[in-house]
Symmetry: C3
Subunit: 342 residues, 3 copies
């Protein structure tokens, strides 16, 4: 059955993929429900094509939660699909659907590249990863060790009248998405020292209501600004990841949801690679989607665990996690994972 | 379009694809709503396999509107999937799901092959493209420059009681589709002169109600006949496309929806290829899904625009479009597109 | 991340697929409805990757019923996705989502490998094929001609309160699936004589209610045991397949649905390969999802038909089928099919 896609120099089409199976065994405490679940969370295929030396296509096609259809838990998504044109030396532009240039995981999220069964909650609930939009994304080298992104693209759309206020609720995934207003993103990244990556991203969108206003908030525009910065440092077998992200929304949203005008979080994750197969990590995360007022709405999570790489891009994972969400409800338990990329 | 993932003689499996991102910025006038939308309208993959010299498989798998699942705007579709057998010299038959041999776009709809961001409304609303059915499709050469198709296949099914009357509403996409009655399609095509294609298609289905009758129309059969003819002419840098299509349904449907027994339209599209990268076009289209009575139900559309090919099969598009639908409601604005095939 | 599907010995990624189009023309008798339907029942793609000599990935991605999305008949499924590691000579383990090692069709269901347009109803309604779970699957050789599987994995979950009682209703497809309890499967297979396969599978799950209890049945656990055995014998042009499967559930389920604590069935299928292209078969099947009481709830099906292989893995099929379901309702008619694998 299995047919090798093989070939000579003529071949310009490429395929690849990644995926991850998660087993969650989390006990809820203080009124939080248990979560005992097994799920093939993500099954992803990459398709690429090189048109000529300076023009190429790249795409990421995904099945989430293993089963998509009417009444089914999953969905099929197109996370990336763009034409990339190298218009000058070390300068290119992507036109189409691309991943936002922000954070550590948003653009590089293959399971063999990070620790922990589940992706970290700061990037998920604040940035919000995985996040893609449609538009133009200019990128290139600024100087030795310095690179940039400058993008104009579709924006978020928050249904304030429907009770939504979290940034993550605003993702429209370029699927019949509103295009009344656009958003602007810039990133600067430094990779000039071996093992080190430093980056900062700024994004501005002038109206999260997409020019439509809202019954609760009236006709005014809900402008929003994202700031994110992170460091990744690998020195010998020791690694460190640290990230901070914050959204500042127009204060007027606080009238609909107290404190929602500031949504932020950070995490720090030291790790140690024991040998070719084993690595271990710890992570402290905290995030808050209603940070603008004095009420306690902060979430805190501790994770420790290990990866076992059966091959350089195939991995088994375990972690022990405790999560305390606002109101004192707590989750604690362990996660097991299987992941790969190729 | 089909890209051999290739190589040595041993490799018999091929993959390819196409896709298009659309940005619509259309203002509604006279009571028509605005449409400001961004959408990765179609993401398509081709998979093919050569079993032996005379038997092959071909398929087209599609994600429409970038996101499919419960409560999501898009859908996953299988538009083509057939075994093709060359049973004699220049004669073959396809068994499976195939695109109806009708019109200009229905079988060849990669975005780099046509002008305009959106597909033309005549082929969409009258033919109705993209249209596939399951059955047998015989094809071959009749004489030098002349070729034919003769197909027997599943048919349309219109839910008249549910208020549906447009031909486009009858597509069942070979997905748990009714097979009480079948349909018959013939096409003759002439490509004997360089740059010229002339073709005409005739289709007959003896009952669009699939033998089930209807509360509104009783037990009678709703027979229907499609006639389509078109010309494509490319002479030097100048091109011309012209197409006419009409459906004649049994008059009895007029009792359910006035004028629906005739549904027709035509368009003409001159174009000019300025150079390797740039081309420009204009298109006049008109179509009517209730053409059998005197009431004004005609739609008219003007488009002008340009394609910029960044590579032979990767294209950026723009058009200015004005559409006047029945009742004087009008859309006007512009569309931007990114498309590719490989 | 991007893996060039390229050239020579370096290429380690593979693709393949299978599919089948079904036309059913079945007349219902004694109050059973007709079924006149055409459907591209399954469109499947395989993606594999060899990481190194002893570690590989394999997956099966499927579109069922040709059209998936909100309000659409079909669904997208991930039927297999596992890492396989050869940890010792002739011994390996799969981690991820894998097909249950049970029956004839569950693991090998490409349409060119079996007779009959539709898969047989015993494996569908009793085993229940196609059936996959997530976990660990150890497999290997026991002795010359003898092999085994030993697996621990996610289990079924039956919604007794929602009126479900058939084993087939319990499949959760590793899609946000409950993981309160696990299941254990063992198989022994003998292939020591040319043309012969004998195999038996035993599975135990300690609670089909996944530790949640039920309003109807209380807090008790609903344990269940599957036993299956089959023979496949090919001697010259003559073939024979015979299979028996039974589920024993805790008797307590009979209080919710009479007789549901035993669900069983068997079939026997002689066949004859006339020549390279033609083969013919007959099949007698019987199955019962409420076999534990004296009430007549048995289904009986007779099929005869033929396959015509246009290529070794591309096939046209026809069968005449009569099915008598409980209560004397009867289906009779014919099915046509087109299938392929590569």
């Amino acid at each position: 059955i299995e047919q090798t896609v093989a070939g000579g120099a003529a071949s310009k089409t490429s395929i690849g993929g990644y995926g991850e199976l998660h087993l969650n065994r989390m006990n809820g405490v203080n009124g939080k429900s248990d979560k005992n679940q097994i799920d093939f969370h993500r099954f992803v295929l990459f398709f690429g094509h090189q048109f000529n030396k300076s023009v190429r296509f790249y795409s990421e096609f995904e099945l989430e939660h293993a089963l998509a259809g009417d009444g089914k838990p999953g969905e099929v998504e197109l996370e990336q699909a763009y034409i990339e044109w190298d218009y000058a030396g070390n300068q290119s532009v992507q036109a189409g659907v691309f991943l936002m240039p922000v954070g550590i995981l948003n653009e590089t999220h293959e399971p063999d590249t990070f620790y922990g069964v589940e992706r970290n909650n700061v990037e998920k609930n604040v940035i919000p990863s995985t996040w893609w939009e449609g538009g133009l994304n200019f990128k290139g080298e600024l100087a030795e060790g310095w690179s940039y992104n400058a993008a104009v693209h579709s924006g978020l759309a928050i249904d304030v009248d429907g009770g939504k206020y979290k940034i993550r609720d605003g993702r429209k995934k370029v699927a019949n998405a509103p295009a009344d207003t656009f958003a602007y993103t810039g990133r600067v990244k430094y990779t000039g020292l071996p093992g080190l990556e430093l980056a900062a991203t700024l994004q501005y969108q002038d109206d999260l209501l997409q020019g439509q206003g809202s019954t609760l908030l009236g006709e005014r525009a809900l402008d929003a600004t994202l700031f994110e910065a992170h460091a990744v440092y690998q020195v010998g077998d020791f690694g460190l990841r640290a990230l901070y992200a914050q959204w500042e929304l127009n204060d007027m949203i606080d009238a609909a949801k107290a404190g929602a005008s500031e949504q932020n979080g950070w995490y720090v994750e030291p790790s140690y690679r024991i040998n070719e197969n084993w690595g271990t990590f710890a992570r402290y995360s905290t995030w808050d989607n209603q940070a603008a007022d004095a009420a306690n709405s902060e979430n805190v999570e501790w994770s420790i665990g290990a990866n076992y790489w059966v091959a350089p891009t195939a991995v088994l994972k375990v972690d022990l996690t405790q999560q305390e969400v606002a109101g004192g409800k707590t989750y604690e338990g362990f996660n097991l994972g299987v992941g790969y990329s190729f």
